[in-house]
Symmetry: C2
Subunit: 714 residues, 2 copies
């Protein structure tokens, strides 16, 4: 009877909605250059509803005047018994990008994409670790459909039966050659199908330029993430069954061999139970964890703990979370309803008291990406029809589970005024402010490079980790890519020794090192030292991400949206303002690199190249495949082995070309949020009349950068 009443009430509510349904959609300005279209009964829990960060309106206001290449009212929303259909204008020439961390595709024009959370690119349906329902156009706008529902985007691939069809001049494809060539890409719009929705919110991010669109998106989400500075160093994850003593030995190896390392990651065995998780130190392997953390800290290592969010009956969190979890178990463990603030708080408080207060610097948040989806066996996550006390169903929760998990853990650090750099296996929309790097098991190097390029379209950080390798060449090229990415990570969770000593998994675990081990180790040291040299430059790029919303890693088309040659380039990208990276895989010892307008310098040879053309490069294993834009002042640090708040970087500036543009470094303590209240400096580097100068301004009292020299490259 109660049920019946609920349904009747529910239905009356729907009546109200349906009355409003016939009304027009409402468009509002929510921030400079950002509009929101709302219509129908909108889900209470949307990706944006979980975004606690405030839009950085000051920074938004400083962007060039916004402009949309079409009338916003041309966006049509249709609500039916199936759900919501959104149609957005699309002109014949524009190019589309986004949909989160796409693995298999780059330019999405002409494709259908269903960005749903999963680790398996599965025939390029759109499955991804980070299913943002967000795309951008090179014409300078972005469309975000703010929903947790599985959504399909038809990017200019449909044609309507509206009576306009005519007999075309072509033959209709009646010969074999024409069979697979049909390019009749239909009408000029993007159709977005959101089954099950009864209303929708659409965020429209205006330009004028593509970069401005991304800036607006990131600034609206609270700005990009600024990781703790040590996060930009090197992370190494030890074998899953290492004991406290073995981790200590590994740490000693790094320092003895002067291989840079800032973070050591522990894998499952540190807990008493891992599938599902107890979140309790396993004293058999870690008899004195807090002492261990301190010892490591004194040697310059931060400790990161692997876990996932499925709570074992063995966990102290089990009882408190029992009624704040979904109605299905995973590995016999609870699925906390992270959409409920009180569930997040329980989880966070426990982690804060048990781990963070004792010095744990970060977590690797695994298994939040519904990774079983494509293996047939569904024990790896909760079913899509799960129900959570917050009202989300399993499908909706899947889409935001990684997002909410990040939020839960990130808030611990924020509360403590501590910055961090996390690892997470799934993310979503409006997540740019979370300092968490996505990772994957997929491990195709060319895809890993494409994911760096795609990450910038959706406010994501991607970590192309290195594990075992097919060959030394494969290993070295992967290492180069790792060095030229947001997080340099060697993930040895199933390797006894660092992979540079033995690339083969079995031999590695039998301690059979390669004959070339010492040479490869030396080469890796060279690469990692370069990474450490680049940290100040990268840190500036991340500060620009935080403060201006500029993605530190982004496709060439972002900076050169009018250059047709960039439209499909998914294996080159910009790092910060001035570096163009073009990683190689083991496929070949050389590759073509397209350089956009302007002049560019090969970082390794200092040779100057004219833009607008392609060149072939052939870097060695220790030469990073990067080009520097003419006019750049590139600050490179003397490599350190790890970074502390006291680290003072000795900078050498490389000046490229005759008319260098002044640049700056971002100077703060590197570990707190004090920069938000002004405790940081801009360290401006200029070079004029054959002389370099350093100008410091801001509220941070310490000097972290000392410029030691200037090197001019003509």
């Amino acid at each position: 009877m109660k049920n019946k009443l609920t349904y009747i009430l529910c239905c009356l509510l729907q009546l109200c909605f349906l009355t409003s349904h016939a009304q027009e959609a409402v468009t509002t300005d929510v921030a400079p250059g950002i509009k929101k279209i709302s219509t129908g009964v909108i889900d209470k829990l949307t990706p944006y509803s979980f975004c606690e960060e405030k839009p950085l309106t000051d920074a938004l206001a400083k962007l060039p005047a916004a402009k949309l290449p079409f009338d916003v009212n041309a966006i049509r929303v249709n609500i039916t018994d199936r759900g919501v259909l959104v149609e957005i204008p699309l002109d014949d020439t524009e190019q589309l990008y986004g949909f989160g961390l796409q693995i298999g595709s780059f330019n999405q024009r002409g494709l259908r994409k269903k960005p749903i959370v999963n680790d398996n690119p599965s025939a390029d349906l759109g499955y991804t670790h980070a299913p943002t329902t967000f795309y951008v156009s090179n014409k300078g706008y972005g469309i975000l459909v703010n929903t947790t529902r599985y959504t399909t985007f038809y990017c200019g691939t449909t044609a309507k039966n509206n009576g306009a069809a005519v007999v075309k001049n072509n033959t209709g494809g009646n010969s074999v050659d024409e069979l697979y060539k049909n390019k009749d890409n239909g009408s000029g719009n993007v159709s977005v199908d959101v089954p099950g929705a009864k209303g929708i919110e659409i965020y429209v991010f205006e330009g004028p330029d593509l970069l401005n669109v991304l800036q607006r998106y990131n600034l609206f989400s609270g700005g990009g993430a600024l990781p703790a500075m040590w996060g930009l160093g090197v992370k190494y994850r030890v074998k899953a069954d290492f004991s406290q003593q073995q981790v200590g030995k590994m740490a000693a190896y790094f320092r003895a061999n002067h291989i840079p390392c800032d973070v050591l990651g522990l894998e499952p065995r540190w807990q008493t139970a891992a599938y599902s998780c107890s979140y309790v130190w396993n004293n058999q392997f870690f008899p004195s964890p807090n002492e261990f953390i301190d010892t490591m800290k004194n040697k310059g290592f931060h400790i990161n703990l692997w876990e996932h969010a499925f709570v074992s009956p063995k966990s102290p969190l089990y009882e408190p979370l029992k009624t704040k979890s979904g109605d299905y178990l995973v590995w016999n463990g609870l699925v906390p309803d992270f959409a409920d603030p009180s569930a997040r708080k329980l989880f966070a408080d426990y982690h804060q008291e048990t781990f963070v207060k004792h010095g744990i610097s970060g977590f690797k948040m695994d298994e939040c990406d519904n990774s079983n989806l494509t293996t047939g066996n569904s024990t790896w996550s909760f079913p899509e029809h799960s129900r959570f006390p917050s009202g989300l169903d399993g499908e909706q929760m899947h889409q935001v589970f990684g997002l909410l998990y990040q939020k839960t853990v990130y808030n611990i650090y924020k509360t403590l005024n501590l910055r961090t750099f996390l690892d997470v296996r799934a993310s979503s929309s409006f997540a740019s402010s979370y300092p968490a790097a996505l990772y994957s098991d997929t491990y195709e190097h060319d895809e890993y490079i494409r994911m760096i390029v795609n990450s910038g379209f959706s406010g994501l950080i991607w970590s192309p980790e290195v594990r075992e390798s097919k060959s030394i060449k494969d290993f070295m090229r992967r290492s180069q890519t790792a060095v030229l990415s947001a997080q340099t990570l060697y993930n040895s969770w199933y390797l006894q020794n660092p992979p540079w000593l033995q690339i083969d998994r079995d031999k590695n675990n039998k301690n059979e090192l390669m004959p070339e081990a010492k040479q490869v180790e030396a080469d890796v040291r060279t690469l990692l030292n370069f990474r450490m040299s680049l940290v100040p430059y990268l840190y500036r790029a991340f500060a620009d991400y935080r403060l201006k919303g500029i993605p530190p890693f982004r496709a060439l088309v972002v900076d050169y949206p009018q250059d047709k040659n960039t439209f499909d380039i998914s294996d080159e990208y910009m790092i910060g303002q001035n570096i163009l990276a073009a990683p190689l895989t083991e496929a070949a010892d050389e590759r073509k690199v397209y350089l956009p307008a302007g002049n560019w310098y090969d970082f390794n040879t200092n040779q100057k190249f004219e833009g607008g053309k392609s060149y072939t490069i052939k870097p060695s294993y220790t030469q990073l495949p990067i080009f520097i834009k003419e006019g750049t002042i590139l600050p490179l640090a003397k490599p350190v082995e790890f970074i502390t708040p006291d680290t003072k970087f000795e900078i050498n500036c490389k000046v490229y070309g005759a008319n260098p543009v002044s640049t700056s470094l971002f100077e703060d303590d590197g570990i707190t949020f004090n920069f938000q209240t002004g405790s940081y400096n801009n360290v401006e580097l200029s070079y004029m009349n054959n002389k370099g100068s350093v100008k410091r301004s801001g509220g941070f009292k310490k000097q972290r950068y000392v410029v030691k020299g200037w090197e001019v490259i003509k």
Copy 2:
């Protein structure tokens, strides 16, 4: 205003539903051993709603008394704002099969399956050419969720958070070895998630045995299909750009070289437009089509026409279908609303007048499987949010488009009292009565074998076609599989010459024949002659399919549901009552064959084997890998090159073992439905006291089988 009113009415309707929602599900007996559970507001257009065939209740009533291993009321249905959730009991030991023509998996226990229409098995999500929402258990029952919506089945893989979770004895998987071993397969039920549904119909097919379940399913669907007898011969599809003259030349080749062939299939170029279709003869290539059909007929060839259902603006069908089509075009062509009888009639009438009345014997109905789904480019079919005048949306239409297309074309022949054998790229539930063979481009030989085995669980006919090959071995093994399947098809739509003359596509099209061409041709002739020998036996098997619902091709577990060794065998199958087939691929020259209870004879060596064990066989390219059950009388015909209603089969009976069981042949004209009104004979073959006997009973006046000899194998 009108819109608003519609919605208010709609909502009031929902109110009525919601009142009924709180009511219990209603269970009714719909046929002997078949129950229907109904609850909520059920979609008007379901797969069963399209089934015009009447249940064969007499045959159903003859089956053993039905039995369900659980109380039917234990099936729970829950309707929420997400859709419908169905939970069906599952005990710890039972094995599950079905979900249509699954490509990647066989035993579905422990898997999640989403049977949605597509040609790409894509990480074994469940995508298939024939997405039946139907599974069966070896415990002797079947469950069919009668919906056109995309549905997910969790086959015993979920565990509920119901307070029952306890700390288990295992360690919770905290060591690396345990990471991937978690076998905690959760509670005892199958969960079925039907998003978007507001009510549901569930058909429960009872046993007692698994075979009875399949019989009930097929009989309920109108019985299995009985193809025209010529359909069991050999089909050859010619190159897509062949002219009338070239087809004639190919026909002459077959007869001159005494290679059996009953059907020649024409590919796209016969039409004036093919993507989309005009359904108009292209007179440039076929200047006199009706004369051509007659000439071919006189030589014993049936002509089959390739097409798909997307109607070109160049087609005479375009204007009439314009308002009876979906709101999106495919290749600039209409998508007829085949759920609307008047659209089907227009399409059928045109085909009847233009083609069937002039002697076209069948069609290949292509492109109805949403095959673009996994390629990213969605121009290959209509979007899921399409709307059709009948009320179906695109998702729902996709699931039944192939089904309705078959129905449309099959009805032409039924109306004319002509039997046929069609090709179709997609099917669905309740389709067993359609004489249409499914085909695919996927072309993995081991998968093609598995699909034969899976086809029997869902009332489907599968054609593992042969095209080019990697090696002669690959080609010959594929040919063997084709001979041991429901349709023997060589698909040379992109090959100038028969593939047995050149397996390599490029060389084939350059007319560079293999040095071994004549030998391979001879070997293929041997195999195809065997096929023709088997036709009377196969025809009986199909008659049993039609009259008793017994799948002619089925997994060993169907006949031996208690034998654990059969539970996972997906590369052996039964053909008819007495033949066990175990095809080889090019992977090896020998294979293991498991033989179930009883004694079996190797067809090639006549060696006798004891069942319950595995043996290794090593058949040559011309030896079919089959075993014959002890007690079998196997009627084999002297091969003919093609089959007409006048063909008289000269039969030699092979008698296996000392106590043969009498068997029978099904005798009719082979081309009409007159058997339905009694115009057929049972030709009983017995062997006793060293003497064979033939006893004919029934209402068919002609004799098509003459028994010439008996061969006893001890």
